[in-house]
Symmetry: C2
Subunit: 189 residues, 2 copies
């Protein structure tokens, strides 16, 4: 069992010892080097990663050749390409370490087996997904409310953990800014 | 028990008769008139609604006095103000029927009790939330990829059920368009 993930689960749900034993029956600890990929476009995503240390990003290269960041995986958070994972389609996205990372790698097949019998583990993931939905709604609300620079500073003030882990220009990409705006922010740095 | 919701749950999970009996132990059938509110700004949201017929919208009035639509509830979908619901804070949003509706009203307290003991019901909601996350990611992807009008037409082609239920200008608001753009689309109608 991993104490960091166990602790995180217990923040949101009340797993029994059996729930945790079952969850950790199939897990792989993985050290990931800076810029190393856990997923590339065209591959089938079959894993969900819990981040112990470091930072990863989920991004896509759009038609104009620009990177568009959808999510970050910072410590005590999960990262995967949910679209490829749940729809069993080739990934359109990449998962890449932005720095040296340590992750726990769980196969979707295993997690589904665990969630099928353990309400606590299922509720843990359900609660995280609800939090993600609320965060996405707030992001949408703010993106319509604020100008680019205001949005960027508002996001940074509300998410200090991100600012520590994630380079500024990646946060700007995540917020949907143009490469020109990102360059401007990088210039000011 | 309600056959429409039972059928919907069985599309995604495998509930036992006991799971369903427990779920439907506390539920209220509710007819909702056009423009009637299920939630107003400032109230605490304590319910999740399964839409049997009609259409509802979750929206917020922004600082400029414009309505910003976050979600729709069309038949066989759920609608709530998740932010107020999970954070126990006064709602910043409204839930309003866009036409005559029929809904099933479940209290959050009851649903949490059910999900705590029923992996099937918990997995049902977890799977829906995963689908919502993927839909939100695609919306973000398309909103950066397409021009306003392209995005509107792409969304309509991919979501024919919405187009049947939801007035055009509300879809445009949901896609984050300005009131001016929405007027333009309404003018073309």
């Amino acid at each position: 069992m991993n104490p960091q993930l166990t602790e995180h689960i217990k923040q949101f749900a009340s797993p029994t010892e059996e729930d945790l034993a079952l969850l950790f029956e199939e897990v792989e600890y993985k050290a990931v080097g800076p810029k190393e990929f856990l997923l590339k476009e065209g591959q089938f995503c079959k894993f969900q990663y819990f981040v112990l240390k470091g930072c990863l990003r989920l991004y896509q290269i759009n038609d104009r050749g620009n990177e568009q960041i959808f999510n970050f995986g910072i410590p005590n958070w999960w990262i995967t390409d949910l679209d490829s994972l749940i729809n069993h389609t080739p990934a359109k996205k990449y998962i890449q370490a932005t720095k040296k990372c340590e992750v726990l790698k769980f196969s979707r097949v295993h997690l589904e087996k665990v969630m099928a019998v353990s309400p606590a583990i299922c509720n843990y993931f359900r609660i995280l997904l609800e939090k993600v939905k609320v965060a996405d709604q707030r992001k949408m609300e703010y993106s319509l409310k604020f100008s680019g620079e205001e949005l960027y500073h508002h996001f940074c003030s509300k998410n200090p953990a991100f600012v520590q882990e994630v380079p500024q220009y990646m946060i700007a990409s995540y917020l949907g800014f143009t490469p020109e705006f990102i360059s401007k922010i990088r210039g000011k740095k």
